[in-house]
Amino acid sequence: MKKILRIILLSSLVLLALLFIYLPVAWLVISSISSRSELLSTPIHWIPQQPTFQNYINILSPSQGTSEVAKTFRITLWNSLLVASSVTLIALTFGSIAAYALIRLRFRFRQTLLIGILGTRMIPEISLVIPLYLFATRFGLFNSPAILIITYLSFALPFAIWLMAAFFESIPVELEDAARIDGCNRLQTLWRIIMPISAPGLVSTGLFVFLTAWDEFFFALILTSTVSAKTVPVAIAEFTGRYVVDVGGMMTGGVLAAIPPVLLSLIFQRYIVSGLTAGAVKG
């Protein structure tokens, strides 16, 4: 009886959480397939009477008359993917080994370094963008995915290190000692023991880094100029004219921009399972 009550309680909480997530998402999707005049109707048409997929068609298979933003949207999607995944891969690789060192090895300046790394992330990017712009033009990196990867790394890495450090910390030291007795060196321990256990942390950190890079707007706006480097948020912003805001286009852009991260998380989902840790501890 108690068990059934518990399941009912938990299920209704899940339902509540899903409602919290999906109400606005539903509205996002509805706005992307409604004409403006339908969006403006009172009472609101919760289900569009004449749904239109024109916004999606404009972006996915642009024709002569479609706007420049819609035409180039797919290219910017690709740029974003390139930038965000490069940043994620590099940040995870260097970030996790740095985090491991900072957590497990004892040496001087350890604390100072940890705080110092965090400190670089405190300055608002608004004030860093002009020096970075000058840096980019001087090195011929302006309007290239490379400059975005580099700058995003400078703020993704500190947080990646802190996040990974948090996950590494919760792993019992005994596990590692056992491995070292078996003859593994530091790197082998990290690779064979620590990484598999902290897979959930690694995946979450990866998601965090990916989405930070995916969502970043201001740097991308200033440091890129053409479709060879423009990212999705910058492209989406161009649905706003001087007065006109193409809300349908923007919402469609938002829906499409949300799909790649969701797919990625689905792929990596299986690594976020709790069984791994339990097995490792017992083994």
């Binding site: 005049s37 002569q64 706007s67 002009i130 033009t137 100029s225 706003t240 006109v244």
Partner: protein, 430 residues
Amino acid sequence: MKSIRSMLFALIAIVLIASIVGCQPKQAAGPATIRVLTMEQAGPTVDEMNAIVAEFNEANPDIKVEIEYVAYDALHDKITTAMASNPPAYDVFLADDIWYAEFAKSGYVLDVTDRISKDTHDKIFAAAWDITTVSGKAYGMPWLLDEMYFFYNEDLLKQAGFDTPPATWEELIAQAKVMKEKGIVEYPMVWSWGQYEAAICDWVVLLYGNGGSLVDDKGAPAFNNETGVKTLNWMVQTIDDGYTNPASVSYVEEDVRNVFSQGKAAFAVNWNYMYDLVNFNTEESQVTGKIKMSLIPAFEGSGVKSASINGSMGFSVAATSANPDAAWKYVEFLTSESIQNKYSAHLLPMWSTSFEGENLTKLQGYTPANAVTVPMFNEQFPFAHVRPKVPYYPEASKSLQLALQEALTKQKTPEQALNDAAAKWVELAK
């Protein structure tokens, strides 16, 4: 251990030196490349802009033109950042009316006064030159003429028993009163009084329509006098009385268009773009065919017939461009009489000759909306005012926006709010 530390420092030093010294950008050899920064929805479509470049290249094969489009909101930030490098990333850019004083003072825009022939100067609307002219010097060619217009929903007016649109704001209130009493519409007016530049534009329309002005002859703030306070009081009062939609305090132009498209408002002041979308586009509007335009009303006894705001833009050459002559050639071509007349489907030309004879017939014939907006433009443009050409305009505007908002949200009295803003303007002018 010591060696490791010194190695580390050496590495850091190398990175630092590398980032400080760097290499200088190379000068482009051969044909000059002109990089242009503009926005979409700034007149001609992207295809038309490309066609203009193709025509330009027929006469100037050695000048390559690369056009880049950004959102309006990003334009100012992109320009000011680009000017930090030398040569700048753009040779030609589109600038808004309100940035010209700032750009001229900062040395961002090339003084082209001597490059403009008398003939050109005379054939372009005088009010259009107000856009790019700062202290008597021209810093670019005007582009994309725009001003605010008065829109009304004829259907709602007829239901209330009125055949003609109001000529004064007092008359408008009288009509609004009847509409409210008959339950035709809850809030007859909707405005863009949010904390944006849009609020200043509406304020200019009302203030100048009351015989007031933002600054006096010497450039000192003049909006906090009796006329200014009276005008702002009128705004607050219309919200209190329910004649103005209270949400106006958070609205921009696009919200005004949306509410007007819903048929929830009978009167609105907005830019040229609204007419086509509201009156002809069933995808966008629920009130197609019911919308008319007329001269913006003024206040009774003000001695003013109408007042509007000039919201045009301009094309300028970057002062530090590596190829100023080639860049100017392109700007001249883009804004030339023949090109403007040829590609006027999506823009209002600034050549007064475009509004005569055959050109006018062509201009009016492009769209059903043009048939109405083009004559309306001619009627309203003489009443259009420019905002003060002061280099600190962005900051001045923000303080005035705040003042309007503080009065509209009842945090300060109109008098207090306007006095505070005026004090700020005086401080900025120092």
